[in-house]
């Protein structure tokens, strides 16, 4: 059986380039379904036969885990990303800190109530104490890509996106990189799931993502290592550090609660 | 065939009570009198019709018994007034539309007779008016129907074609024993095809019966605008029983039947059927008719049915007298001839107030 991996859209390039290596190493063919993490989580909960899930934020994987669909002990925070402020390539705008966003007309954010990138951006600005002033200037985009596109078109003064997204575009310039210290903890957690057709393949893939070769590839594309990542995930290690804006985001499940009796 | 039906229409309700014994009925009536509606009811196409229809012993409609045979089971060969060809089919496909394998069909016959061979592959939009009508006729004939419902099927045909089609319809009627109901405005066509006739007027049956009778009298008035009756208005004068007269003009008085209920001097209108007048070229003496009027022939008109409408001016009033062509010939009647009209007083029928026939009135 092929291994089916659900992964946040922002990891497309990385995973696609890693796929051949995984196949060679494990003998499993891998297929990806990229999308918005929130959609992917919903799909998994509705019964999608995914073997592994790489989410752009912890809250989405929490939901899945709470539904008992995560293979026990497989969850791991894989990589981190960095938020950057981008401006149109020709823009002379100087951004030296969050406060500079206050005076702009339009600031693109992925939907701050739901989409991880937006959620993180909002958390950063809140922490910096400027959210109240920036909020009225915010244009909530459907996803990071849409936020980026608006800046590319020159129809927004600036946008807060992932460094990985900004790296791929020639039409924007990174005006400011949010220091790791100021940003909320950004983690892309991954886990093997129970209801796929190749559960052990899923587990193998999650393990593979933790190999140095995989990490190197992620880093090459601009991802960061997760600060304080533990090799063996521990439930207490990823207590939601941000307000995911999801009312159902409830306390983390107990370790091991994700195994179902009927799971293979 | 037994009809007893009602159908509400825009301005009146079509009400037909009639029973036919022959295999061919002409349906006549002025424009908008309900002819097409009647055919549609028979074909089972009209919603809202009530009553009873029996054709050839088969009850097709009996609303009181809850019977309403669907159109496809009625086997009516309906030729609509406006052809209504299927626009998505060629003429040939139209003709064959109702043909079913294993059932008799007269496609080839109809196609040949109606000269449709060169049109078979054409679509209706490019056909001429007469061509469409022929295709529609062939389409109905081809199905070998139990009754043909023909709504002016020859109206757009030239006379030559008509004269070939009419005998064919007669053959279908007689040899294949397919009865027909034939709507037409042409008395000639009606006479050629029909043994019985139904005359409609404003949705009501104006006359029904043997074709000769219906076509000869009432129909002519309604259809041709020619008065079948001479209408005379004047003042009544009845000094004593048995001597009532209608004074029409100075020079023209008419003995009419007694009307004791009407007082002397009353205005009244009388009708004298054109058929009931005797015409003579010599002075009339010793005839039983009480009225003898002298006048001059002004016009001779062919009235169909071998008859001739002879117009006679009597003291300024135009009378119409119906004579056979033979009589006209024998008496050498021609305009300008001095003639005498004999009118029995019993032939003078008093018209109720406002009760004139709906056809145009004379004189």
């Amino acid at each position: 059986e092929d291994v089916l991996v659900f992964a946040a859209a922002s990891t497309t390039d990385a995973l696609e380039s890693l796929a051949p290596a995984f196949q060679q190493e494990s003998g499993h063919r891998v297929r990806f379904a990229f999308g918005a993490s929130s959609d992917l989580a919903r799909q998994v909960m509705a019964g999608a036969p995914a073997d592994a899930f790489l989410s752009a934020d912890e809250a989405k994987l929490d939901l899945v885990e709470r539904a008992g669909l995560v293979q026990a002990g497989s969850r791991v925070d894989l990589v981190s990303n960095r938020l950057v402020v981008v401006v149109p390539a020709g823009s002379a705008l100087k951004v030296t800190g969050p406060a500079d966003l206050k005076g702009l007309k339009r600031v693109m954010l992925a939907e701050p109530a739901a989409v991880p990138a937006g959620v993180y951006a909002k958390a950063w600005l809140t922490k910096a104490g400027v959210w109240a002033d920036v909020a009225p200037r915010v244009v909530p985009a459907v996803d990071v890509r849409a936020a980026l596109a608006a800046v590319e078109a020159g129809r927004a003064d600036a946008g807060v996106v992932y460094a990985t997204d900004a790296a791929g575009s020639k039409k924007v310039r990174v005006a400011f990189t949010v220091p790791e210290a100021d940003a909320p903890r950004i983690a892309y957690p991954a886990a093997a799931l129970t209801r796929g057709k190749a559960p052990e393949g899923g587990l193998a893939f999650v393990r593979f993502l933790q190999t140095e070769a995989a990490r190197k590839e992620f880093r090459r594309l601009g991802f960061l290592d997760v600060s304080g990542v533990k090799a063996a995930p521990d439930a207490s290690g990823h207590a939601a550090t941000i307000d995911a804006g999801v009312p159902r985001a409830v306390p983390t499940p107990k370790s091991g609660a994700g195994t179902r009796k009927d799971a293979p | 065939m037994e009809l007893s039906l009602r159908l509400p229409l825009a301005r009146f309700t079509l009400e037909v009570e009639a029973r036919f014994t022959s295999a061919s009925v002409a349906v006549l009536g002025r424009s908008g009198s309900g002819k097409t509606s009647l055919l549609e009811v028979l074909a089972g196409l009209r919603r809202g019709a009530t009553g009873r229809v029996v054709v050839d012993g088969r009850v097709l409609l009996d609303t009181s018994a809850g019977i309403d045979v669907p159109p496809e089971a009625r086997r009516m060969g309906y030729v609509p007034q406006d052809a209504l060809l299927f626009p998505h089919l060629t003429a040939g496909q139209n003709v064959r539309f109702g043909v079913r394998a294993g059932r008799p069909s007269r496609v080839d016959e109809a196609v040949h007779l109606l000269e449709l061979e060169p049109l078979l592959h054409r679509y209706p939009v490019t056909l001429s008016g007469g061509e469409k009508q022929r295709v529609a006729l062939a389409r109905a004939l081809a199905t070998d129907p139990a009754l043909l419902l023909l709504d002016e099927p020859l109206a757009a045909l030239d006379v030559a074609l008509k004269e070939r089609v009419l005998p064919y319809l007669l053959r279908v009627r007689d040899e294949a024993r397919v009865p027909l109901l034939y709507v037409t405005h042409q008395l000639g066509e009606a006479r050629a095809l029909a043994r019985e006739a139904l005359l409609l007027d404003g949705g009501a049956v104006k006359a029904v019966g043997p074709a000769d009778t219906v076509l000869g009298t009432v129909a002519r008035g309604l259809l041709t605008g020619e008065p079948e009756e001479n209408i005379l208005e004047g003042t009544l004068d009845h000094p004593a029983p048995g001597s009532t007269r209608l004074r029409v003009t100075e020079g023209l008085s008419l003995w009419v039947p007694d009307a004791p209920e009407l007082s002397h001097g009353t205005r009244a209108a009388y009708a004298v059927p054109a058929e009931d007048i005797l015409l003579s070229t010599g002075p009339l003496t010793g005839v039983s008719a009480r009225n003898v009027l002298e006048g001059t022939v002004t016009k001779l008109e062919d009235a169909g049915a071998g008859e001739c409408a002879t117009h006679v001016d009597v003291a300024g009033i135009r009378w119409v007298v119906r004579l056979t062509h033979a009589a006209v010939r024998e008496l050498s009647i021609a305009p300008g001839l001095r003639v005498y009209l004999a009118v029995k007083s019993s032939a003078c029928r008093r018209l109720a107030q406002g009760a004139r026939l709906s056809g145009p009135a004379a004189p």
Binding site: E111, A113, A114, V139, A146, A153, R155, P247 | G44, L45
Partner: protein, 225 residues
């Protein structure tokens, strides 16, 4: 919330109605031209007109964004005259209009193709120019198709999401339509709220349908069984 809902509904209806109204004239004209004109290059025109239908809405949105980009021809022009489109209600109207256009054109075209050209010919013998005959005969007779197209366009405008969200953003109180609001609620996991909004959308759809129905009601009938 209910006050906000009223505003949302009014805005949505206004936007859908406006985008339908906006494409009505060019859409009907295009439909008529396509129905009549049998020249070469027609297939190409048709395909271009159908694009918004066959491409994923998001892609259409991206294309629109490109077209309106600050350094694009159109963008410069708009900037020059001081008209802002992107991320304003105008963008909502624009996106809905673009997405609805092919639906209107296709349906209206089918309507025009049903019109008997002989009736138009008769109108011309009665003194109508081509133009007058179009308005007095062709259009009224193609009415059913045109209205069906307009209804489809309006409904599509109500439901449009992908293209709109890209060029207009999902700004509550400014560019957020019912559709965007429903999406947002589902995104945030507020399914009950989303359902409620969906119910409102259904009512709107029903209203549009009802109006169309009343307008196209058949005039007279032969009363056939």
């Amino acid at each position: 919330m209910d006050e906000g809902l009223t505003g949302l509904v009014l805005f949505t209806v206004a936007v859908a109605a406006l985008s339908t109204a906006l494409i009505l004239v060019p859409g009907v004209a295009a439909a008529y031209a396509l129905a009549r004109w049998r020249g070469p290059g027609r297939g190409v025109v048709e395909t271009v007109l159908a694009l918004p239908l066959v491409l994923p809405p998001t892609a259409v949105g991206l294309v629109l964004l490109e077209l309106l980009a600050r350094d694009s021809v159109l963008g410069r022009l708009l900037d020059a005259v001081g008209v802002e489109v992107v991320f304003t209600p105008k963008a909502v109207v624009l996106a809905s209009a673009v997405m609805a256009f092919p639906l209107l054109v296709r349906s209206a075209r089918a309507g025009f193709e049903e019109v008997d050209p002989r009736l138009v010919a008769v109108a011309r013998t009665l003194g109508d120019t081509r133009m007058r005959a179009f308005f007095r005969v062709t259009l009224p007779l193609a009415w059913r198709g045109v209205l069906t197209g307009a209804l489809l366009a309006f409904s599509r405008a109500l439901g449009e999401f992908g293209a709109t969200v890209l060029v207009a953003g999902n700004i509550p109180g400014s560019t957020q339509t019912l559709s965007l609001a429903i999406f947002q609620r589902t995104q945030v996991g507020q399914d009950a709220e989303a359902l409620k909004l969906a119910g409102v959308a259904v009512v709107l759809a029903f209203g549009a349908m009802y109006v169309t129905e009343v307008v196209t009601r058949r005039r007279g009938a032969r009363g056939l069984a």
